[in-house]
Amino acid sequence: MKVLVPVKRVVDYNVKVRVKSDGTGVDIANVKMSMNPFDEIAVEEAVRLKEAGIASEVIVVSAGVAGCQETLRTAMAIGADRGILIESDADLQPLAVAKLIKAVADKEQPQVVIFGKQAIDDDSNQTGQMFAALQGWPQATFASKVVIADGKATVTREVDGGLETLEMALPAVVTTDLRLNEPRYATLPNIMKAKKKPLETVKPEDLGVDVAPRLKTLKVAEPAKRQAGVKVADVADLVSKLKNEAKVI
């Protein structure tokens, strides 16, 4: 059974991005780029499935600029077997990415595709669900536990009220939540090994996918800044300010 994991290259989660002064976007020149944290969790989960003898091969795929090769190498250092770069300089929006991944999945025939629940740059939280819909597959989003056995996935999901567990036949889509696992650190020998793993590059045109954006960004602005308030001396001072000044209790 093959497992496919789409990984996105994003601005590192520790970077506080700045909005460009002309309002056309955020400034990502010279900032640290990393694998989307949820995708690291997805790769880790897939590698564990392989280590448990459930998956035969873990394939990682990334759509975007040439720099995504780095992200794919990181995934291979965690333990993925090979990578596919869908190279494009275009603004790839979730629907386009879902279609690109579909083209790859149609060729590779994975039984499980594990996405991150959300890319921390666009915060869309769409691509896995869109891919599942395009395939007509079941989905288990926001997973905190995944069990694959007997051609079925049993997945515990983090939902607003608590947890729920779904069961579905394979092939299926899983999207990861933060508590699914803790990704391992790639060791130096594994980073070296990853450099020799196969990495294939294709273009959206090769896959026959129209990636034209559907949403046009008219403007990117900084949110209203919150002013830091005051330091209070003690609890009595705090309570008095909440009662008399803020009037919230």
Binding site: I120, Q129, G161, L163, L178
Partner: protein, 309 residues
């Protein structure tokens, strides 16, 4: 032009998030219909019919909608999408689960988590954990939208919409609910609470979280929240998490106790009206957004606070 709002409910009653979604729909402009898909959900439908500005409530009542599985709900929405310019759902875990499926099946983009409506095709949404606000315009014929509830007021009651039964779609049988462990609580729901008492790693363990924060929350009639670190460490269940990847809240008063104020946490609470931070580290970033900061040992001051309010 008509707008279809997908109701969030638990088959008995309507969830508050639906009301914020209806407000967003009203800002877009056009006749508002609400779809209630569930099992034995007549009461939820009746509640939806009372929302101001709602012209019609469509009810699909069938056993296979009881658990809101994404595959069945999305298929039903798509089957009923004709004639609507916008399909709107709250950006809850449920809305986030099925809405992108609807969009993909209609071959349109989804506009996630909107906090503003500029016009019928242009919306404002946060990106990069709320560090930027993007204004995006959709060229698609149908706009599939999820609504961040803190971006819009809840719609008032006062409507009396017609309630109409519609045919259920087939049970696709793609996924099956095995079990549900919902956190039981007498407290207000986190996303609808006026006051939230929220705890972080500084509390040390779950026992401390309970013994220190619960009395304070009880006194204030507050909901309880947490940072991811507190959830990860097992102090509290996952549904307490506030932040970029947890719940987005904007209460009248948010009290952050033993929380450092990472960007991802701020993303979930910085639109609160008043923020109080209690932290022993005067340099903690949470103080940069707090209206009232108390630099102190939480073990000492939280019991005092509970006694004083």
């Amino acid at each position: 032009m008509a707008i279809l709002v997908i109701a969030e409910h638990d088959n008995q009653s309507l969830k508050a998030a639906t009301k914020n979604a209806v407000t967003a729909a009203a800002k877009i402009g056009g006749e508002i219909h609400v779809l209630v898909a569930g099992s034995g959900c007549a009461n939820a439908a009746a509640e939806a019919a009372k929302l101001a500005g709602v012209a019609k409530v469509k009810v699909a009542d069938a056993a296979h909608y009881a658990d809101q599985t994404a595959e069945n709900i999305a298929a039903l929405v798509v089957a009923n999408a004709a004639g609507y310019s916008h399909i709107v759902a709250p950006a809850t875990t449920n809305g986030k689960n099925f809405a992108p499926r609807v969009a993909a099946l209609l071959d349109v983009a989804q506009i996630s988590d909107i906090v503003g409506v500029e016009s019928a095709d242009t919306f404002v949404r946060p990106i990069y954990a709320g560090n930027a606000l993007a204004t995006v315009q959709s060229a698609d014929t149908v706009k599939v939208i999820t609504v961040r509830t803190t971006g819009f007021e809840a719609v008032a009651e006062g409507g009396s919409a017609a309630v109409e039964a519609i045919a259920a779609g087939p049970d696709l049988g793609k996924s099956k609910l095995v079990s549900r462990e919902l956190t039981k609580s007498e407290r207000p729901e986190l996303t609808a609470a006026k006051i939230i008492v929220s705890g972080g790693r500084g509390l040390g363990n779950g026992e401390n979280y309970k013994t220190l924060l619960e009395p304070l929350a009880d006194k204030l009639g507050a909901a309880l929240g947490a940072s991811r670190a507190a959830v990860d460490a097992g102090f509290v269940p996952n549904d307490y998490q506030v932040g970029q990847t947890g719940k987005i809240v904007a209460p009248q008063l948010y009290i952050a106790i033993g929380i450092s104020g990472a960007i991802q946490h701020l993303a979930g609470m910085k639109d609160s009206k008043v923020i109080v931070a209690i932290n022993k580290d005067p340099e903690a970033p949470i103080f940069q957004v707090a209206d009232y900061g108390l630099v102190a040992d939480l073990f000492e001051v939280v019991p005092q606070l509970a006694a004083a309010v």
